[in-house]
Symmetry: C3
Subunit: 248 residues, 3 copies
């Protein structure tokens, strides 16, 4: 017996979109606690974790925890066919993952479950001395603007604000949210931090902003970046870690 119901497709739709930009296949653990997935991208530069707690669902009936391997590109296409407000029901049937949307008519997709070799993804344990919470739309804005000039993004967290900076022979760009800006929800800086990252990974992940209104960003100088996207209030979250680029 496996049956999960979500009243609106959008949470799953946008989360899967963000994940599928980074990784091709994923192994979802489904239990009475909800859905859980973690993976590293093939280059092992980015780590991604998705938690959709029991509270993300309207109904959750699971006899025992199962692991479901899926092609994320195909999963994404199925969810793209759903309207954000469609009702979603998830179940399993003889080697297939079954997704049913109810909106205009009832659409049932059966997606083959695939074998995924369980790899040992180390859960990084990190503490950060600079933390900010932003509206996700502001992160998206900054990433877009840095992308006009550069393929590397530098985050700078100071007591005054959060900057995203890019530089190339096409010039420079700085996107600044100062303390007090309504898009900067909180800012806690024990030690000022800055570090640079490959922009394309972050561009892929900020697509998750459609599923999330708030994101927290945590940083230590020249160390990995941690972003945590809060989904449907606090019922779900997506954690994203990215290795820094060390400039020569």
């Amino acid at each position: 017996m496996l049956r999960l119901v979500m009243p609106e497709a959008k949470t799953l739709r946008y989360s899967i979109e963000a994940i599928s930009n980074l990784i091709d296949e994923g192994s979802f653990k489904i239990s009475e606690n909800g859905i859980y997935m973690r993976a590293m991208d093939p280059s092992r530069i980015a780590y991604i974790e998705l938690q959709l707690s029991r509270d993300s669902f309207e109904t959750i009936e699971v006899d025992e925890e199962v692991s479901v391997g899926l092609n994320l590109g195909e999963l994404k296409k199925r969810f793209s066919a759903a309207k954000p407000s469609d009702y979603v029901e998830i179940s399993m049937d003889k080697g297939f993952f079954v997704i049913r949307f109810k909106g205009k008519g009832t659409t049932t997709f059966k997606l083959p479950i695939i074998e995924i070799e369980e790899e040992d993804v180390p859960v990084p344990n990190l503490t950060f001395r600079a933390n900010a919470k932003l509206r996700s739309s502001a992160l998206k804005e900054g990433v877009k603007k840095v992308g006009i000039v550069s393929d590397t993004i530098k985050f700078i967290l100071t007591r005054e604000g959060v900057s995203m900076v890019g530089e190339s022979d096409l010039g420079e760009v700085e996107f600044l949210l100062e303390r007090g800006d309504e898009d900067l929800i909180s800012l806690e800086v024990e030690e000022e931090a800055k570090a640079s990252y490959t922009l394309s990974y972050i561009e892929d992940v900020v697509k998750a902003t459609a599923a999330s209104e708030v994101v927290s960003i945590s940083l230590n100088t020249d160390h990995p970046l941690r972003m945590e996207f809060f989904i449907s209030g606090d019922a779900g979250r997506m954690i994203f870690l990215l290795a820094p680029r060390i400039e020569q």
Copy 2:
């Protein structure tokens, strides 16, 4: 003397769009009864017929029936330049088909009339034992969803409802409208029927849904599919027949 006036360009615009996806050139018969065209696609798998009755027009002044051969791709481009609400006037002038739109300014297109060899298109005479009437938007939805998984679509008409089904090694999809669904206007099934068709022809034709709010679908098992799109109420109609794919 040939002069036809339509108060709004959209009916012609969307009908021509649908036809031009299947065939390159068309011979339109224009008489005091309106506009009539029928043709088979080059592969002779699909048959299409367009009838715009006298009631589709505000004014219709035609001395005698004429046959006008036109390049449908070019005709479509002219109509794409019109706003759906533009007033349209059709006439002829020395080897040209003349289309005049009034909206922002007055635009007059003269399109060369071409020779089209009259071919003997047999009017298929078919009776169907399973018929459904749907909102066109629901047909569009189903076709789109089946297209995610498959390039073949199977229609299934039972006493319970209408299904559109696709299957491939990417899995399965079923789009179901059950009796009682507001998008399923009527359902008359003397004998349950199912048959498979090449999706791309139907994808091309459902573009006509913009000109039509209601479509009827008729079927016998493993026989041709008949779709009839009702245009501007009942003043016009587009009939579409498609040969089945017989699965081995």
Copy 3:
């Protein structure tokens, strides 16, 4: 000291877009009178002039006139990142042109100032015997419609109205604004005039219509076309001259 402030980015954004379609690099003269630029396109068929007067700006602080050479494609990309309603501040900093947008956060772009060889652009001095003033949206409409049939556009100014005409083996098109049409603001024709021009130049420039609600068109038979776009009322203007195509 150089600092110019505009309350809304859109005027600069759309003007730069129009210019950058025709020329790759531009030398802007910035003084207490505003911003001024003129250039010919590489093929020397089109001349373009941009004037943003003192009144276009909220604040203008300039010690002495400077010439600033910029890559227009890059400049356009920076402005595309601004919302039309963003506040803009322009300044200079050690070899960089500095553009700051305030909207969602504060974005600062530094764009390298480049050397531009000052070329002697002759200011054409022309008088015209046929003049019309149109809503820019109507010019845009006419240009789009002619483009369906032809890559040459003929303007015809008579006492009755303004026509834009195209012709090819795909047929003919005429877009007509008659005297009295609300999109034709004024029409003064001392001598009727018609002349043909390469459409692509005009297509590029009509993108400026987003910055301008009104355009004046001036013509003598088989002579250059002059278009003047009025920007933010009358605070700025863009003048565009185009050599005619003499039909054989």
